[in-house]
Symmetry: C2
């Protein structure tokens, strides 16, 4: 059932895919594996690693330092692509681990290449998705470089809320969230203890509550203001002056 996949749902925000393209997509997703939480999906320095589609569950990508510190780069949720660009190169520069049990499709690099060549509009949609990931990475860098602890926390949770909303996994004022305070700390460049304190302060100030695996926004507007959150970077749909950049301009199936 293509139409129900979170992945298709996300790509559809960018272009309406044709039946043929949906087929190509379906073929990629045909093999699925179910993983327990804590499963390693790809490794730093690994060669010829596979690209992933995360169908269900949560994961995170991260980078490990020699001394054991780790920096989480991104939290991945249903419908996210992981490691597509880097799968084309010799070695991956990051690792990925599941947070909950998860369902994924793993795709070999040659397969990635063939798909991109055969379905150019699909390639464009995937490029769009990858591009959005990079926009999030940039915003993440701004978080860690130029925002204080509460701004970071607010920003991250608002971003997750936005992303989960798109795939129908958020209510207007909150979402289920399996992240531990350790995860938050490793993503935001803070210590667990400090994350804990800041969460408490936000709860006391009536901004939001993070408890029992749920995030609830008590004062969404206040939070957005605090974080300086502007969801623009998540939503850069459409091409600049080019309807269909990667397929021949006379392609009859376009639009």
């Amino acid at each position: 059932m293509h139409a129900e996949s979170a992945f298709v749902r996300r790509l559809n925000r960018f272009v309406q895919l044709s039946r043929d393209e949906l087929d190509g997509l379906a073929r990629l997703q045909s093999q699925r594996r179910t993983l327990k939480n804590g499963a390693e999906l790809s490794w730093q320095g690994q060669t010829g690693h596979r690209a992933l589609i995360l169908h269900a569950g949560w994961a995170y990508t991260y980078k490990l330092l020699p001394d054991g510190r780790q920096q989480i780069l991104n939290f991945c949720v249903s419908g996210d692509l992981i490691g597509w660009r880097s799968s084309l190169f010799r070695s991956s520069d990051q690792a990925c681990t599941t947070i909950t049990s998860a369902v994924v499709s793993e795709i070999r690099p040659e397969r990635v290449r063939d798909t991109l060549l055969r379905w150019p509009r699909l390639a464009a949609a995937i490029l769009w998705s990858v591009s959005q990931d990079e926009a999030m990475l940039v915003e993440h860098l701004v978080d860690v470089g130029r925002r204080n602890a509460s701004e970071r926390l607010a920003h991250l949770l608002l971003e997750l809320h936005e992303r989960l909303g798109v795939i129908g996994l958020a209510t207007e004022r909150g979402f289920r969230c399996p992240l531990t305070q350790d995860h938050l700390a490793d993503a935001l460049g803070l210590s667990v203890v400090h994350v804990n304190r800041v969460l408490r302060r936000m709860r006391e100030r009536g901004l939001m509550a993070y408890r029992a695996g749920r995030v609830h926004f008590d004062d969404p507007a206040g939070l957005r203001q605090l974080a300086g959150f502007d969801e623009g970077y998540l939503d850069r749909a459409g091409w600049a002056g080019v309807v269909n950049p990667l397929s021949p301009p006379d392609d009859p199936s376009a639009i």
Copy 2:
């Protein structure tokens, strides 16, 4: 003179380009503009902005927060590509300013698209370059999130040294560097004052000196150790099991 361009020199690390491909490249670079330092090259929120090749000089990309803080995302040097991926989307999410006087080519999005379609191996080389930028962004996030001030500083300067070495702008133990301490602070998420102090400490410890527009490494090995610097992420040349991923496998000009 193709062979002398820093840009071609960099791409050549990845694939040896054919005469025809070098021609395509030359055509992109044919129009050049010389800019004074402090010139704005693209703007946050701008629509349909151009992709850039920086032929000479230094620039930086950054993101501005509503309250005036800024986070520098990347320093750009001769031979770097700027904003290629985002030029295909409706709006740019970052801004770019020159640090020194600079020579650039500006390329309209349609032109980017056409070039990528017409010269697939060129497209692959450009993808490789863009991909390397993202690896640097990741490393930058690790810097700011999980390294302390001196580690960050050391890591950034070692990375610049490596990159400048590739295009012949570094000696074994140092390089000319037009960055002010303000630039360093805005890139590393530190205050200027702190950057100053840390630089002094490093000078006193006999690690490196940054003075009069020059970086000099007194103890390169010590610095690398301090920073946990592993240049691997700058050097992921070659494709994973695929010689020439974006052109037909039977292309006679390949390899």
